[in-house]
Amino acid sequence: MADELERPGGEPVEHEAEPHLPSPTIWPFAFAGGVGLLLVGLIISWIIAAIGAVIALIFGFLWIREATREVRARPVAEPEPEPEPVSELAIPEEGEEEPERYPRSVFLEMSTLGVGALIGGIVTLPALGFMIAPAFVDQGYEEVDLGPLANFPEAQYVITTFYSKSNEGSVGRRTAFIRNNGMKDDVPSFTIISNRCAHLGCPTQPAGLPGKEQEVKTSARPVAITPVASVSGFQCPCHGGAYDSEGNRTAGPPVRALDRYQFLIKDGNLVLGTPYSVGKVEGTGADAVIEAYSLADPGQHVDGPEQIFYPYIP
């Protein structure tokens, strides 16, 4: 205890028999305050975060110093001359220069442990790999045939519900908002926005007047389309995220614009390609300039200073 170290007179202190408690200190409170300020600062402003970080560092250091004072102040015990570890099997032999003995029991111990670890590893590692690896490899996106271009009227959003994977059934059902932007330089232009909210992935809804749902027969999987008139933007029911008609965030907690899909046109059919994430969109329709990034999960920043938190996205 700290008070023992300061006690004059220096009575012998028995360390073995008492609890090793750190002396009471106020520093953790200041440290916690600094961490709190850092967290608040991450949301509000980088200056506050920096101040919080400095406070946390300083008081964290003081706390560690206080907590380890007893250990550090304790006089370093003279390394007692340890008796040479003499094995029972080691028979003292004649001669001054005795080579270091490597007892048989130690060898057996080590080899048993080693062989055990080897067997354990051979069994465990593939199983662990099977647990983890499939979640990260072969993450392709299938192309989805959405039917003839004629189903997508110009300058109007169409809610399109489709099955993203051929072998998954209704779990793979996804929704995209598709707008035909007409021709741009003799090339058809589509705006295809994923309904997945960029906050935490709830399904956003278009703010407009939905028409009648209609089934589209495609080569493989059924597609349902619902035209929506005069879409002013998209809204999320979960936490109030709001987006404009290009998918840019206008209000609420989302961290970026709505994700989009690449598309291609095959035999007069619109075909959905790989989805990608969007920082923000300048301009509208066919003239839009899209800040595209590879697909990130909802809530992960793709641009701005916060992107340092997501340096690598599998």
Binding site: E14, E16, A17, E18, P19, H20, L21, I132, P134, A135, F136, Q139, S164, K165, N167, E168, G169, S170, V171, G172, L200, G201, C202, P203, C238, L295, A296, D297, P298, G299, Q300, F309, Y310, P311, Y312, I313, P314
Partner: protein
């Protein structure tokens, strides 16, 4: 009586289990324990209820995207007493978490996390986290809209963690998006992985409780710095005289006995 004791004696002679159980049941605890000390046992009971009802539910539940919802409906509406067992498991989950927090509050307010019981507090924190993990993974299993979207949001919250987040989210989903593997994965975590860890750590938790003994409430004489003479009568410690250290004045005679 002899007839009753014969099998117990047989067992005791070969395993020592009877003695161990006796030691557990008749070990000394501080005189001034109170009802708050039962919160830990209550939490354990709630966990055992979850384990038993969960095992029974697993006999009827089908963890595949096409069948999960219908099997839950089948359990609830068609099977005899299915509504009861599912209800016990569903509401018992909340009871378990509430009792965990009350137990944690008791330990905190009684100062029972202090030396030499810090390790047991740490194990308790891991147990709490795992119990919350049970709540998260179990919530998806009914496979209705609430379950699905709550899990989407929960996984994406995990995905927001700096650096590791995207990997955690992909691991939980079993891929880039919630798919047919996600439900089976959550089912495995919910009924095999996390419960296994819970059982192991609860065992360690209880072992440490028995080894270190029960803490007195902070208002007791022992906690207030009294010593006890050999008759167990409290002896006031002088305030001027520094308390002698390392002689078992840390607690009651009962507890220091347990520490030996």
């Amino acid at each position: 009586m002899a007839l009753l004791m014969a099998p117990l004696n047989w067992l005791e002679e070969r395993s020592g289990l009877v003695g161990a159980v006796k030691y557990f049941l008749f070990r000394k605890v501080p005189a001034e324990t109170n009802w708050f000390h039962t919160l830990g046992s209550a939490t354990l009971t709630a966990f055992l209820v979850q384990a038993v009802t969960g095992v029974i539910l697993a006999m009827y539940y089908k963890p595949s995207p096409e069948e999960a919802y219908h099997s839950i409906q089948h359990i609830t509406n068609d099977l005899t007493l299915g509504w009861l067992v599912r209800g016990m498991h569903r509401w018992g989950a909340s009871v378990f978490i509430i009792l965990l927090f009350l137990h944690m509050g008791r330990v905190f307010l009684f100062g029972a996390y202090k030396y030499p019981r810090e390790l047991n507090w740490l194990i308790g924190v891991i147990l709490l986290t795992m119990a919350l993990g049970e709540g998260l993974t179990g919530y998806l299993l009914p496979w209705d809209e609430t379950a699905y979207w709550a899990t989407v949001v929960a996984i994406n919250i995990n995905g927001n963690a700096p650096i590791a987040g995207p990997f955690i989210a992909d691991f939980l989903r079993g891929g880039a998006e919630i798919g047919e593997d996600t439900l089976a994965r959550f089912y495995s975590l919910h009924m095999l992985v996390i419960p296994g860890g819970l059982f192991a750590l609860i065992g360690l938790h209880l072992y440490l409780v028995i080894r270190l003994g029960v803490t007195e409430p902070p208002w007791t004489r022992a906690a207030a710095g009294y010593d006890f003479d050999e008759n167990g009568r409290p002896v006031r410690q002088g305030l001027v005289e520094p308390r002698p250290r390392g002689n078992g004045s840390l607690g009651t005679p009962a507890r220091s006995e347990a520490e030996v």
